[in-house]
C-alpha cells in the first residue's frame, strides 16, 4: 500500500505537481481513514490533502485518473482461448487498485519470478487469457524492476525487456523451443509464439503509458534547463510556448521577491501600543510617538525595448519578459521602438501574451533603427515622468545605422533617474564595432551588460531590483 502511494506521488511529480512531505504524510493518514475500496472517496481524500490550490486540483484529478486506471491485458483476439470471457471488461471500474494490492515481492521471487506467488507458468496464463492475473503479474514485475524510475523514451526497450523477464519470459522461451523440437506439436509452438508477441505488445504499451506518467517531469526539467541557458536567438519556434511558461515563472519569482517592499514612514496612524509602552516611563504622557504607516515602495520601471530587425530574435523574449513583468508588477511602463517611441503598455494589458508580442513587433518593428530619434522622443514624452525613483531599462543592441547618437539625452536620463540599465544581446567585445554606439552610451548607464539568455536576464533583473532596494 505504502509503495502504491509513493508511486502515486512520483506520478504527481510527473504531472508538475510538487507534493510536500507533510502533505504526503497527511495523504497516508487520510488513506488509512477512508480505505482503498471506494474510488470516489479515495480521490476526494487524496485530493483534499495533496492538491493545495484549485489549479493543482485539476492537475491532480488528471494524474489520479491516469494512475489508478486498470492496466488490463487486452483479450486475445485469436481463437487461442475460450476461457478469456471469465474476466469481465468492467474490471477497471469496480476494482481500480486491485493489481496494486499485491504486496511487493521483495527479493523472494527475484528476476524471472514466474514461479512466484501464483506459481502458474507464464505460458499457462497467456493461453488461458486470464487478463486480470496477467495484469497483476505485470504490475508486480514492474515494481520489481523499478519502472517508476523511467526517464527517457530511450529506456523503453530496456524496461520492456526487464518486465517480460521478471514475468517469466525465460521459461516461456524454453517452452517454445521445446515445442518446436517436438515435431508433433507445431500447433502449440505457433500458438505460444503468438502469445509471446502479444505479451511483448502489451508490456510495451504499458511501459509507454508509465513513461508518460513518470517521465515527463524530469525530461521537461532537463529541457527547461537547456532553454534557460541557451542563447535567445537560437531558440526555435516550437519551444516558444514552453518559453512563455518559463518566462512567466521567472517574472513571477522576481515580482514576488520585490513587489512588496515596505518602508517605515514617520507619519500616518499612531502606533498606540508602541507609543504607550515607551511612554509608560513618563507617566503616560505621550512624549515620544511612533507611527504605524508603512509605505509600499514598489519599483517604478520604464522599460524601453528595441524591436528592430537586428534584434528581433531577442525582442520576442524581451517583450515576453516585459509582458510577464507587467502582469506581476504594477508601475511598469513599457515602450518599444525602431525609429520612434511607442507606448505598448496598453497593448500588454489588453491582449493575451502571444497576440500582444506579435502585435507589438508588427506595429513597431521594421528596419532602420534610430536610437537618436528615440532618445529625443524619450526626452520629449517621458522626461517629466522620470524622477529619482525611476529605473530606466533599455533593451537593445545600440546599433544606430550611423545616425546621430544624441548622447546628451542619455546623460540627462542618467542624471535624473535612479538607475539607467542597458541590456545588450551582443557580447561586450562587439560593442563599439561598426555602427554600434554602445561604447558611447555605456558611460551614461549605471549598469550596461551583455544579456542573451534567460538566466542572464533573470540574474541581471534580480540584481537590479535588489540594489534598488538597498539604495532606498
Amino acid at each position: 500500500m505504502q509503495a502504491t502511494l509513493e508511486d502515486f506521488f512520483k506520478a504527481l511529480r510527473g504531472s508538475d505537481l510538487e507534493v510536500h512531505l507533510n502533505a504526503q504524510v497527511d495523504a497516508a493518514r487520510a488513506v488509512e481513514l477512508v480505505g482503498w475500496s471506494d474510488r470516489a472517496l479515495l480521490k476526494n481524500a487524496l485530493g483534499t490533502t495533496l492538491a493545495k490550490t484549485t489549479a493543482d486540483r485539476v492537475l491532480f484529478d488528471e494524474a489520479f485518473d491516469r494512475f489508478f486506471c486498470f492496466d488490463a491485458f487486452k483479450k486475445p483476439t485469436g481463437s487461442a482461448s475460450g476461457a478469456g470471457q471469465a474476466v469481465p471488461q468492467g474490471a477497471d471500474q469496480t476494482n481500480p487498485d486491485q493489481p496494486k494490492d499485491e504486496p511487493p515481492k521483495t527479493g523472494s521471487g527475484g528476476p524471472g519470478g514466474c514461479q512466484g506467488s501464483g506459481g502458474q507458468a507464464l505460458s499457462q496464463l497467456l493461453l488461458s487469457g486470464d487478463s486480470a492475473a496477467l495484469a497483476k503479474r505485470m504490475q508486480v514485475a514492474a515494481r520489481e524492476v523499478g519502472l517508476t524510475d523511467i526517464w527517457f523514451f530511450t529506456q523503453k526497450g530496456y524496461y520492456t525487456q526487464k518486465i517480460q523477464q521478471a514475468m517469466g519470459l525465460e521459461l516461456l522461451d524454453r517452452e517454445i523451443s521445446e515445442a518446436k523440437r517436438q515435431t508433433m506439436a507445431p500447433e502449440r509452438a505457433k500458438e505460444l509464439e503468438l502469445t509471446r508477441k502479444r505479451l511483448f505488445n502489451e508490456v510495451r504499451d504499458f511501459v509507454e503509458r508509465k513513461l508518460a506518467l513518470y517521465g515527463t517531469a524530469p525530461t521537461r526539467q532537463l529541457h527547461d534547463d537547456f532553454l534557460q541557458t541557451q542563447k535567445l536567438s537560437n531558440i526555435e519556434k516550437r519551444d516558444f510556448e514552453r518559453m512563455h511558461i518559463i518566462v512567466r515563472k521567472m517574472a513571477k519569482r522576481l515580482a514576488e521577491r520585490h513587489a512588496r517592499r515596505k518602508k517605515q514612514r514617520v507619519r500616518g496612524q499612531l502606533d498606540f501600543r508602541k507609543t504607550l509602552r515607551k511612554n509608560a516611563a513618563y507617566g503616560g504622557i505621550l512624549f515620544e510617538t511612533f507611527w504605524r504607516t508603512k509605505v509600499v515602495d514598489r519599483p517604478r520601471v520604464i522599460a524601453i525595448c528595441d524591436v528592430s530587425g537586428s534584434v528581433r530574435q531577442y525582442a520576442r523574449f524581451l517583450l515576453l519578459f516585459l509582458y510577464s513583468l507587467d502582469e506581476q508588477l504594477s508601475g511598469v511602463r513599457s515602450y518599444a521602438f525602431t525609429n520612434h517611441l511607442v507606448d505598448v503598455s496598453d497593448t500588454f494589458t489588453q491582449l493575451p501574451v502571444e497576440h500582444a508580442v506579435d502585435k507589438v513587433i508588427q506595429a513597431v518593428g521594421g528596419s532602420g533603427t534610430d536610437y537618436g530619434q528615440t532618445l529625443l522622443d524619450i526626452e520629449e514624452q517621458l522626461l517629466d515622468q522620470i524622477d529619482r525613483r525611476t529605473t530606466i531599462l533599455f533593451l537593445g543592441d545600440a546599433r544606430n545605422n550611423r545616425g546621430e547618437a544624441h548622447t546628451e539625452v542619455m546623460r540627462l536620463l542618467y542624471e535624473r533617474a535612479r538607475r539607467v540599465i542597458w541590456l545588450n544581446p551582443e557580447p561586450t567585445s562587439f560593442w563599439g564595432l561598426g555602427d554600434s554606439e554602445m561604447k558611447r552610451y555605456a558611460p551614461y548607464c549605471h549598469i550596461a551588460r551583455q544579456c542573451n539568455s534567460l538566466v542572464q536576464l533573470e540574474g541581471t533583473l534580480d540584481a537590479l531590483l535588489r540594489t534598488h532596494a538597498a539604495s532606498t
Binding site: A40, A45, G47, T48, T49, K52, F272, G283
Partner: protein, 322 residues
C-alpha cells in the same frame, strides 16, 4: 474535541448526516474534507465562487459540534493588535498611578536602596499579565473551554504579514505573546479559512491546510439544498427553478448565480405564490439572482431557450426520480 464529538465524525456518511441535521447539505467532497480535517486536526482552506456556502460550512460545523463560532473577517491592514491581543493601556496607566501611591507604603522601613529594590522584586510583575490583556478573536479561539470553530474569512484580503502571524496558530494551535510566552489552545479549535482567490496564498500557509474547492452544486444536490432551506417550495417549482439556474450558469456572465442566489430566488417565488416558471415571472424576478445590468440583458436575450431547456431538464429529472 476529538473524542467528545467522535460520534458525529465516525464516518463520512455520518458527517453528511450530521450536517444535514443542521440544514447544511454537504456534497461528498465537502463531507470528505470536513471528516479528514477533523480526524487529522488540520485547518481547511476553502476556495470557490462567492455564495456557494463557504462561510455557511463553518457555521454548520459550529452548530453540529454545539460550540461557539469565532469569526474573524480579514481586511487589508489587519494586524496582531486586532486579531490576537491588545494591552489595556488605560488600565495599565491606572495601575502605574496606583503603584506610585502605594510605593511609599511598601518601602516603609526599608534600609537603604538595596533592600527597597529587593522588596520591589518580591512583588509579581502584574503589568504584563492576563489581567491587562484584551483578547481578540484568535486569542479567544484558543481560550475556549469547550473548543470552538474558528472561521478566518476572506484570508486573501489580508496582508502577507498577517498570514505569517497565522502560521503558528494553524500548525500548532498556539500563539506567542512576547511578554507572556507561548499560549497553547485549551482545546484545539476547528479552523476554516475561506478565500475568494484575489491573491495567491503563501506556500507555507497552504502546506498547513487541507484544501477544499467548493463549486456550484450538481442539480440533485441543489434541489436537496432548496428542499431544506426553503421548505414550502413545491416539488415542480423546485425542479424547474434549479434546472433554470443550472442553465443560466452555462451563460457567459460577469457573475454567475450561486447557491445563495438560488435560495433567494426560491424564497421570492414562494412569496409570489408561483407554481410554475413563466416568462413574465422570470423576467420580473431576474434581478434577484443576477446582479449586473449586463448579465440581466444577456439572460433576457436567451430567455426563451433557457426556459425551454429548464422545463425539459426538470421533466427529465422528474422522470428519472420517479
Amino acid at each position: 474535541m476529538k473524542t467528545e464529538h467522535s460520534d458525529h465524525f465516525a464516518s463520512i456518511d455520518r458527517v453528511a448526516q450530521s450536517f444535514a441535521a443542521v440544514d447544511y447539505i454537504a456534497s461528498s467532497a465537502i463531507a470528505t474534507s470536513v471528516y479528514l480535517g477533523f480526524q487529522l486536526e488540520k485547518p481547511i482552506l476553502i476556495e470557490g465562487p462567492a455564495g456557494v456556502g463557504k462561510t455557511e460550512l463553518a457555521k454548520g460545523m459550529a452548530e453540529v459540534l454545539d460550540v461557539p463560532l469565532i469569526r474573524m473577517q480579514c481586511y487589508e491592514g489587519l494586524d496582531e493588535s486586532k486579531a490576537l491581543y491588545e494591552w489595556k493601556y488605560g488600565k495599565q496607566l491606572l495601575y502605574t498611578q496606583l503603584l506610585k501611591d502605594k510605593l511609599g507604603e511598601m518601602m516603609q522601613g526599608a534600609q537603604g536602596l538595596a533592600e527597597s529594590m529587593d522588596r520591589l522584586h518580591a512583588h509579581d510583575d502584574l503589568f504584563f499579565s492576563e489581567h491587562f490583556l484584551e483578547p481578540r478573536p484568535l486569542y479567544q479561539a484558543l481560550h475556549q473551554e469547550k473548543g470552538c470553530v474558528l472561521l478566518i474569512d476572506e484570508i486573501d484580503k489580508s496582508d502577507p504579514e498577517f498570514e505569517a502571524l497565522l502560521l503558528e496558530v494553524l500548525s500548532d494551535f498556539q500563539v506567542s505573546v512576547p511578554e507572556l510566552g507561548t499560549i497553547k489552545a485549551k482545546v484545539k479549535p476547528i479552523v476554516f479559512l475561506t478565500s475568494n482567490n484575489t491573491r495567491e496564498m503563501s506556500d507555507a500557509l497552504k502546506r498547513r491546510c487541507l484544501h477544499l474547492h467548493i463549486t456550484f452544486p450538481e442539480p440533485a444536490l441543489e434541489r436537496r439544498i432548496l428542499e431544506r432551506r426553503v421548505p414550502g417550495l413545491s416539488g415542480t417549482l423546485n425542479r424547474e427553478l434549479v434546472a433554470f439556474i443550472q442553465a443560466v450558469r452555462q451563460l457567459d456572465l460577469k457573475k454567475l448565480p450561486s447557491v445563495s442566489e438560488t435560495i433567494d430566488w426560491a424564497k421570492t417565488l414562494l412569496l409570489l405564490n408561483a407554481e410554475h416558471l413563466s416568462l413574465d415571472l422570470v423576467r420580473d424576478t431576474l434581478n434577484v439572482f443576477l446582479k449586473f445590468e449586463q448579465d440581466i440583458a444577456t439572460a433576457n436575450e436567451q430567455m426563451g431557450n433557457l426556459l425551454q431547456q429548464a422545463r425539459k431538464d426538470a421533466e427529465l429529472s422528474h422522470a428519472s426520480h420517479a
